[in-house]
């Protein structure tokens, strides 16, 4: 098939974009492409869509392609562009403009549309005329999309535009903001953008855009209290498997860029987290008869989560003493805003105590390390956590040439 900038199936390009963006050190032969030509085509497409953001370098093992974006310097997520590349037929685009032009003059039946297309629009072209079914299908498709409405007149359906939505200037500002700050923001990018955005964004994980279809499908399951069949792709094992769950909540990280679904796993009979970037497909199943049961279950479950690990569902108790001098009020402020389900209290004039009961205290280690330089004491019912921090400090002292004997 000849190369085209447009694609039929988004899933195909999703993993390439992710690899170019997240990794960026893989050579052509390290991609899972069935052939070198497939890699070349995907690379060419992504390069065409993301002109200015694609970079490359060459080392002894060949050319490496990567996407590099300073999210603070862009005001619109460039990855949304990938959602504006769906392929279509010649009749799709032609009928799009013809039909909306016809309906701008007022309501019309399928017959009216066919007549005007053949007698007016295609009068000067050698193109063949569309049959009634093609026109009816396009009108019906636009009705499902909410652009058109139909009503019966005798035996015919009469189509017209659905009620117009007027975008006030306030909506335009809201759209500019939420397009970049809300899940499924790609839909906001479908509104026409006028002028420079008054908003900028810091700590913006652009990559979430690529999982929008998955989020959308899961939202539809949640809206209708449906179970879902998830098809997962394990990057490590390079294999697919399926799980049937009741989708309960999304857990999104604003510090690591990861996004998860929390679902109640019917077969394993427990809540499980699934990374959205590992989900290939979501299939809506039957309606759950007792959704309140899982809601109540979630409320009890969430109280002891630090992040997204339920460990073995038993609790770890952790206590940490942090030093903060008299003029270091910002440390107490940090603890207060970052404590999640934990508690913070002042132990003495220069010490703050953080306490938490969580399913998996190992998940807290990255956060605990951010206090290196101030940790006066760490105790945890999981010995591994304390030992791990001790070992890390020893290794870091060695790495940075510090006093290993002191640790």
């Amino acid at each position: 098939m000849a190369y085209s900038e447009l694609i039929k199936n988004f899933e195909k390009v999703r993993s390439y974009m992710r690899d170019f963006y997240v990794y960026g050190f893989k050579g052509r032969n390290e991609f899972d492409a069935k052939s070198a030509r497939i890699y070349d085509d995907e690379y060419r497409r992504v390069k065409a869509w993301l002109e200015g953001y694609m970079n490359s370098y060459t080392d002894e093992t060949g050319k490496k392609v990567f996407i590099s974006i300073d999210s603070r310097a862009v005001f619109h997520n460039p990855l949304y562009t990938a959602f504006k590349t769906k392929s279509f037929t010649d009749w799709d685009i032609t009928l799009h403009f013809f039909l909306l032009d016809i309906l701008s003059d007022g309501p019309a039946t399928v017959g009216d549309c066919v007549q005007r297309i053949t007698e007016v629009y295609l009068k000067d072209f050698p193109a063949e005329f569309p049959d009634e079914r093609t026109v009816r299908n396009k009108l019906s498709e636009y009705e499902k999309m909410g652009i058109l409405v139909s009503r019966k007149r005798g035996r015919n359906l009469v189509y017209s535009f659905s009620e117009e939505f007027r975008e006030s200037p306030a909506w335009r500002d809201a759209i500019a903001f939420y397009t970049e700050a809300m899940p499924l923001g790609v839909i906001g990018s479908y509104f026409p953008q006028s002028g420079a955005s008054p908003f900028g964004f810091k700590h913006r994980y652009l990559l979430d855009a690529l999982d929008s279809e998955i989020v959308y499908d899961l939202c539809e399951c949640m809206n209708e209290s449906r179970a879902a069949e998830l098809t997962l792709f394990s990057r490590r094992k390079k294999q697919e498997n399926t799980h049937t769950v009741y989708p309960v909540r999304f857990y999104f990280s604003v510090q690591s860029g990861r996004q998860y679904l929390l679902g109640y796993h019917y077969r394993f009979r427990r809540p499980m987290f699934f990374r959205l970037d590992c989900l290939k497909k979501v299939k809506a199943l039957e309606t759950e008869k007792d959704p309140e049961r899982y809601e109540a279950y979630w409320q009890a479950f969430d109280r002891y989560l630090w992040g997204v690990s339920p460990g073995d569902h038993t609790l770890d108790h952790l206590e940490m003493l942090i030093h903060a001098g008299p003029d270091e009020g910002f440390i107490a402020e940090r603890l207060m805003r970052e404590k999640r389900h934990g508690t913070v209290e002042q132990a003495d004039g220069e010490t703050w105590k953080f306490t938490a009961d969580v399913y998996d205290a190992t998940e807290m280690l990255p956060w605990i390390r951010t206090f290196i330089g101030r940790i006066e004491q760490l105790t945890c019912t999981s010995d591994y956590v304390v030992r791990c921090l001790q070992d890390d400090l020893t290794a870091m002292n060695r790495m940075y040439g510090g006093d290993t004997g002191a640790v």
Binding site: Y121, G146, G188, G373, D403
Partner: protein, 304 residues
């Protein structure tokens, strides 16, 4: 459906071409120019060809169209559902959007179903009427390029009143806060937390061409990553909000170069520390020194 040609760049591009044709002002050069501007890198090889060879019979050979009206692009149900979803978010009050027009529309999701589990707990007070009023005024100031007088409390608790030129309102999803990026009399680039601003007043307009938003210089840090405990994948994703380049340097080691703003250095340092010994700062020396200082301070803390 989320992925649909209706929202595609090709439709938008052809729409603009047809608008020009309707006005009778379309030329071959303009057609190419619109395609280059609206389309992707290779779109110029497809759209003009389809319009010329009649496979998309929308333009005649003399670049006229039989359409009678400027092409429309009505808002779809999907878009309305997305807008309806926004009405459930506390921040929507900042925008004064009309509450009518979406009554019969079902939202796409319930924002309460999303847990932002590591978002900081001291976000801006989006329901405070005073905050909302100041936000709206500052938004107008940014959009209309108006000077603005702001009274705010500094980190040290001192109250200041400045006249500033606002560039942009910057939102951080991690902090759940807005900041005003602006220029003050003393400094070309300032960041003011909206939460710290207690009063503001619109002043006269300024010429944005005389006072363009400054292009900030990035600093660069080079990190060595040892791919243990899934460190590579975690680092790649965690730092993906910055411009970066990664190279494989050995069987299990990688070099990652990040571009960052000097004002964000402490924050970056903390993020690097969170990885422990699987990431090492190679350069600049200044940043490595800051980590060394923290390690030395830790050795005085009687732990472990």
């Amino acid at each position: 459906m989320l992925f649909d040609e209706y929202y595609g760049e090709y439709y938008a591009c052809v729409s603009e071409i047809l608008q020009e044709a309707l006005k009778g002002t379309l030329t071959k050069e303009k057609l190419i120019d619109i395609t280059r501007r609206r389309g992707f890198a290779e779109t110029v090889l497809t759209i003009p060809g389809h319009l010329k060879d009649g496979s998309w019979p929308l333009l005649t050979a003399d670049l006229k169209t039989a359409l009678r009206h400027p092409p429309q692009h009505p808002v779809t149900l999907l878009q309305k559902r997305w807008l309806k979803t926004l009405l459930d978010d506390p921040k929507i009050r900042l925008f004064n959007v009309p509450e009518t027009g979406l009554e019969d529309i079902r939202p796409l999701f319930d924002p309460r179903k999303i847990i932002w589990y590591d978002r900081y707990g001291d976000g801006d007070p989006y329901e405070d009427p005073g905050y909302i009023e100041r936000f709206r005024l500052l938004l107008e100031a940014v959009k209309q390029h108006r000077r603005v007088q702001v009274t705010f409390t500094s980190h040290r608790g001192r109250q200041n009143t400045w006249t500033v030129l606002p560039y942009r309102l910057e939102y951080s999803g991690t902090d759940d806060k807005f900041r005003l990026l602006c220029e003050s009399d003393r400094q070309r680039y300032r960041t003011l937390n909206l939460q710290r601003i207690s009063a503001c007043r619109l002043l006269e307009a300024f010429d944005p061409e005389e006072h363009p938003s400054p292009l900030l210089q990035n600093d660069s840090v080079q990190l060595e990553i040892v791919d243990e405990r899934n460190a590579l994948e975690r680092a790649m994703l965690q730092f993906s909000y910055l411009a970066k380049k990664t190279e494989r340097t050995g069987e299990n080691t990688y070099r990652m170069t990040l571009q960052y703003r000097r004002e964000d250095e402490t924050e970056l340092l903390i993020r690097i520390l969170s990885f422990g010994p699987v990431i090492r700062v190679v350069e600049p020396d200044r940043l490595a020194m800051l980590i060394r200082e923290r390690l030395q301070r830790q050795s005085l803390c009687h732990f472990p």
